[in-house]
Amino acid sequence: MEITTREALNQALREEMQRDERVFIVGEDVAEYDGAYKVSRGLLKEFGPGRVMDTPISEEVIAGVGVGSALVGFRPVVEFMTVNFSLLAMDQIINHAAKWRYMSGGQFKVPVVFRMPGGAGLSLGAQHSHSLEAIFTHIPGLKVVAPGSPRDAKGLLKSAIRDDDPVIFLENEMLYNLKGEVPEGEYLIPLGLAEVKREGSDVTLIAYRRMLQMALMAADLLAKEGIEAEVVDPRTLRPLDLETLVKSVRKTGRAVVVHEGWARCGVGGDIANLLYGAAFDHLDAPIQVVSAVEVPMPYNQALEQAAIPSPEKVAAAARAVLSMAS
């Protein structure tokens, strides 16, 4: 069945709420407004205001509702209207959600999911276009998930809700309308498992979330030139399924990591460094990282497009790693 990412996420929420009474949704305009991006459409009607809760614009206490209720046995799904506003809740996420279990010597678990749409491409300007996965991935105690297709979105969100640890679930505003095949009936995709999205032998393209789509398009471009790119999606950034990535890189000897966030201390450099460490002798050329240009995101459409990765840029990076002598 072909459905959009939005519908896939909506199904995941509905199914998990039906399955487990402890699951509830909380956030700004998630109930009567159906969510700013309509991901929670219809859930208020089905589950009532006791399980789909509109909040004031108060990110810190919204996060607190997630952490606190999780501590006493609930399974809250917190929606930050966008990832950008999570900057106002960093303390609850990093100093609380990520720490309560460890600091208490394992007495508590914190099964909260923080859903956050993000990314650039809609000309929303510098404050509304963040990809903050590097910040969350930096933090022990958090798990970080970043699906790039409707199928992964649904299967991973269901797993995230059932997971006993705090999960940062990163969506992308440009993917909500993306359609893709989703299995009939219930299925789960475990956290921490990468997937080869397209097989190839010449170069490995590692990409997640919206950049998966860019990488797949780049692979099409490259195929026309006779280059067979393998596309691997880590899907979960923490824990990272390094093994699957390394396996591909060992095969191809060359890698490009694509991500939408900034480069410095970003996920791209992180994955590249891990690959160098694990597959140094198999690498025929330095790894290329394709990321956002190091600027606050500009409003102007053309500038914005210039600031983020594109299939062409990914293909160019692939050609560059291939052109280097082995």
Partner: protein
């Protein structure tokens, strides 16, 4: 579960009397009144043009129109000194026009052009005009409030009687930064005027569903701050209240919290069909259109003829048409300049 109080119909007029201007005496010279009227009409026409250009795809991104709220920005900003400061939220077109920024450069910004006030980098939500002390355009709800407090710390130090007007919506009342800012401004006695444009909704959530008290001024009581509650559809009431608050700030270095009760005639942004409001409610507010109100009063005072008004409308139409033409013929930023303006001095290195 716990949460969620039931959606109540948002009261068209929140409880508690809101100050109105007196209807009978002529409070300002005719010239001033005409200025206010023309400015409000400019804001109105500018936003109508913005809407049209958005639907054509020439304005893009998130775009929050100021239709219906003209009195608050125009009335308060009209009596500032040129060296005072203004800061606003993402709903900032009206404030930027009110400080006197050229409408062409604002429209060019919405078009993302190099000639825009923010060189096409900011867009609708991030208008800036350093020359006129307009500090933004902040798209983080309540984000401008702590920053504005910082400005007022500096202004107090400069000792020249300068003041900052900090505009925000009713939704911002529930952010932590609002609270910290109110406390500090009162504790340190800072020359700042907090202007809450209470349009009764933050996106789809009415103030009754977001705030434990719906009278915003009660929040300010918790910091011993002077307050005033004003009919935000009455530009003269807005102006008078701001004038009093400015005096308090300039002469006594004391902050004021002004609640201006108003209404946006359209959805939250261009993407919002605003189904959460009833037709009745909208109509009730449209009947209180701030432009119509001032027009009626000026007509009553024999300060405005039909011909005056028609000429004014024409003049505004011409200005807005010129603004759009300027935007449409302005160049796009060059891609090579993408990395300009990140730092004053980027230094070497990566």
């Amino acid at each position: 579960m716990a949460g969620v109080t039931k959606q109540k119909k948002a009261t068209a007029r929140p409880k508690g009397g809101a100050a109105k201007s007196t209807k009978n005496e002529i409070p300002l010279p005719a010239k001033e009144l005409r200025k206010l009227l023309r400015k409000m009409q400019l804001l109105r026409a500018f936003e109508e043009a913005t809407r049209a250009k958005y639907l054509e795809g020439k304005v893009y991104g998130f775009c929050h129109l100021y239709l219906g709220q003209e009195a608050t920005a125009v009335g308060s900003i009209s009596i500032l000194r040129p060296d005072d400061y203004v800061i606003s939220s993402y709903r900032d077109h009206g404030h930027c026009l009110s400080v006197g920024t050229d409408s062409g450069r604002i429209m060019a910004e919405l078009f993302g052009r190099e000639t825009g006030v923010s060189k096409g980098r900011g867009g609708s939500m991030h208008l800036f005009d350093a020359e006129r002390n307009f500090l933004g355009g902040d798209a983080i709800v309540a984000g401008q409030i702590p920053l504005a407090v910082g400005v007022s710390v500096a202004l107090k130090q400069l000792g020249k009687g300068q003041v900052i007007l900090c505009f925000f919506g009713d939704g911002a009342l529930n952010e932590g930064g609002f609270h910290e800012s109110m406390n500090l401004a009162s504790l340190w006695k800072l020359p700042i005027i907090f202007i809450c444009e209470n349009n009764i909704y933050g996106m789809g959530t009415s103030i009754e569903r977001a705030s434990a008290v719906t009278q915003a001024t009660r929040r300010a009581d918790a910091y011993d701050m002077a307050t005033d509650r004003i009919d935000g559809m009455d530009v003269l009431a807005v102006r008078m209240a701001t004038e009093k608050a400015l005096r308090r700030a300039r002469e006594e270095n004391l902050p004021t919290f002004l609640e201006m009760i108003c209404y946006r005639f359209v959805g939250h942004s261009m993407m919002d069909p605003a189904k959460y409001r009833t037709r009745d409610e909208i109509e009730e507010w449209v009947r209180r259109d701030p432009i119509e109100q001032l027009k009626a009063r000026m007509t009553g005072w024999s300060l405005l003829t039909k011909a005056d008004w028609e000429a004014m409308v024409k003049d505004v139409e011409r200005e807005v048409a010129e603004a759009v033409a300027f935007a449409e013929t302005s160049p796009e930023p060059q891609i090579a300049t993408l990395e300009d303006w990140v730092y004053s001095d980027p230094g070497k290195g990566v």
